[in-house]
């Protein structure tokens, strides 16, 4: 596709459920990022992939959060045993090779935990 595609766009999960959020980056983009944006806040960095390698996962808030990108293209962010504080928009972004290139964001996956 032309842009970064995320699915599902909206997800309501019961507390304790596991969820999986998918990101399809722009074709040819080796770098992929996940951000969490709580209501009324700026996006917070979660994790970064270069191809299939997860080079930075310093922003993952707990061991309930796990991200993977096994073939260096599509990525999945998994949240286990969801809690109400996990309610947020999860943004995926991708970047072509080269320092300083523009990062392109998807429209996000809105997660509400009830």
């Amino acid at each position: 596709g032309a842009g970064v595609s995320q699915s599902p766009r909206y997800k309501v999960a019961k507390r304790g459920q596991d969820v999986a959020l998918r990101c399809d980056p722009i074709s040819g983009h080796v770098s992929l990022f996940w951000y969490q944006q709580a209501l009324g806040q700026g996006p917070e960095f979660l994790t970064y992939f270069q191809n299939e390698a997860q080079l930075d996962k310093s922003g993952l808030p707990s061991d309930r959060f796990f991200a993977e990108r096994p073939e260096g293209s599509v990525s999945t962010l998994k949240i286990q045993r969801t809690q109400q504080e996990d309610s947020a928009v999860y943004l995926c972004a991708s970047k072509p090779p080269g320092t300083g290139n523009t990062i392109y964001f998807g429209e996000g996956s809105w997660l509400t935990v009830v």
């Binding site: 270069q50 930075d56 300083g100 523009t102 990062i103 964001f105």
Partner: protein, 114 residues
């Protein structure tokens, strides 16, 4: 501590009036600097970026920003706002040593008075 500060949570300006949104950063060295816009329910769109060179940067939609090293600032300006500019605006930085990670400010919500 390293940080990006947007001191104005919410700004209202009249249509046709000029606009300036403030951004200050606190880092040891000059980072890469960005302004993003986010409309309700939409992803983040890059308005402009500063990497080096001319400190006055032109962006899309008639926006510009000026990097002032002495003030550690990167304020966003527009000479005449339109009702369609109503949105959330985020200042962001990326360390040159770790250009993969973009750190966002908390945002400024812009409302336009008819």
């Amino acid at each position: 501590a390293q940080s990006v500060t947007q001191p104005d949570i919410h700004i209202t300006v009249s249509e046709g009036a000029s606009l300036e949104l403030r951004c200050n950063y606190s880092y040891g060295a000059t980072p890469y600097l960005f302004w993003y816009v986010q409309s309700p329910g939409q992803g983040l769109q890059l308005l402009l970026k500063y990497f080096s060179g001319d400190t006055l940067v032109q962006g899309i939609k008639g926006f510009e920003a000026e990097f002032k090293r002495s003030q550690s600032s990167f304020n966003l300006r527009k000479p005449s706002v339109h009702w369609s500019d109503a949105a959330e605006y985020f200042c962001a930085v990326a360390l040159r040593s770790s250009a993969s990670k973009i750190i966002f400010g908390s945002g400024t919500r812009l409302s336009i008075r008819p």
